[in-house]
């Protein structure tokens, strides 16, 4: 798939499908983690959690490329789409941040704990960067166009 002239107007369905797929992956990652935390056998099962976390991370990397090439045609329409995605990202980012500070890691064996921590750290980095990309994308489109400038508010 090529990202030339990629925008909500031309590729709306594709974007929605991708958002929905990412959202599902993120939910799977977190629900799996929560369930597993309750089990005493967490040590042996932790590796199973790595798969959805790594999958979510790699999907986010693709999304970052997509956001970089996303062209805002109509700030009213595009910002609504990006806002919905942004809210999901922020919610996920807060959850990952809590997990990273979780003391449970210290109870895991160093190898498993470290691997899980690294996977979550990578996920966190992608979430932060995409949130930033979206913030900036909207800012740049407002400052770069007189018709979009009204979309800004008083600081």
């Amino acid at each position: 798939m090529t990202y030339s002239n990629f925008s909500y107007e031309t590729q709306g369905n594709v974007i929605e499908e991708l958002f929905s797929s990412l959202s599902k992956s993120m939910k799977n990652a977190f629900s799996a983690y929560k369930k597993e935390l309750l089990l005493e056998s967490i040590q042996t099962k932790t590796f199973k959690l790595l798969q959805p976390i790594d999958r979510a991370t790699s999907e986010l990397k693709s999304f970052r490329d997509m956001i970089a090439l996303y062209y805002i045609n109509d700030i009213e329409v595009d910002s609504k789409v990006l806002n919905i995605f942004y809210d999901d990202l922020e919610e996920s980012k807060d959850k990952v941040e809590c997990l990273l500070d979780e003391e449970a890691f210290t109870k895991l064996s160093p190898v498993i704990g470290d691997r899980l921590h690294i996977a979550l750290e990578e996920l966190y980095v992608e979430l932060v960067n995409i949130s930033f990309d979206i913030s900036l994308k909207i800012g740049e489109s407002c400052i770069g166009s007189e018709s979009n400038y009204h979309f800004l508010e008083e600081a």
Partner: protein, 118 residues
């Protein structure tokens, strides 16, 4: 100077206030200083030279771990608050070289040289 903010910035600001990480008074204090004196030492304006010609400008809210990233245009003089967040997120953003090129900073050198480089 005209200072605006994106809706996403204001949304994130509200979230930080709701979580008790930042008070609205602390934010108003920064905004007040910035409008009067964008280079005031209290808000620690920093240029982060991340690539050869690219710069990120950051501000700090006094006595907090909260950082702001600002998009600045000099002609006409405008500032847009585009991002706000915790120091942990800020560190993540400035470490990534891909983020550098996106911050527009089209001021003449003479107009920006007073901002301290990190």
């Amino acid at each position: 100077m005209e200072v605006k903010a994106t809706i996403i910035f204001l949304k994130k600001l509200d979230a930080l206030i709701a979580k008790g990480i930042l008070s609205s008074a602390q934010y108003r204090h920064l905004r007040c200083i910035y409008k009067k004196e964008p280079l005031h030492h209290k808000i620690r304006p920093h240029k982060i030279q991340c690539n050869k010609h690219d710069t990120i400008v950051s501000l700090s809210i006094p006595n907090t771990q909260i950082r702001l990233l600002v998009l600045i245009l000099c002609k006409p003089k405008k500032a847009i608050f585009v991002w706000i967040g915790k120091h942990r997120e800020y560190e993540t953003i400035i470490k990534d070289k891909r983020n550098c090129k996106k911050i527009t900073f089209n001021c003449d050198k003479s107009q920006t040289e007073n901002i301290v480089s990190a």
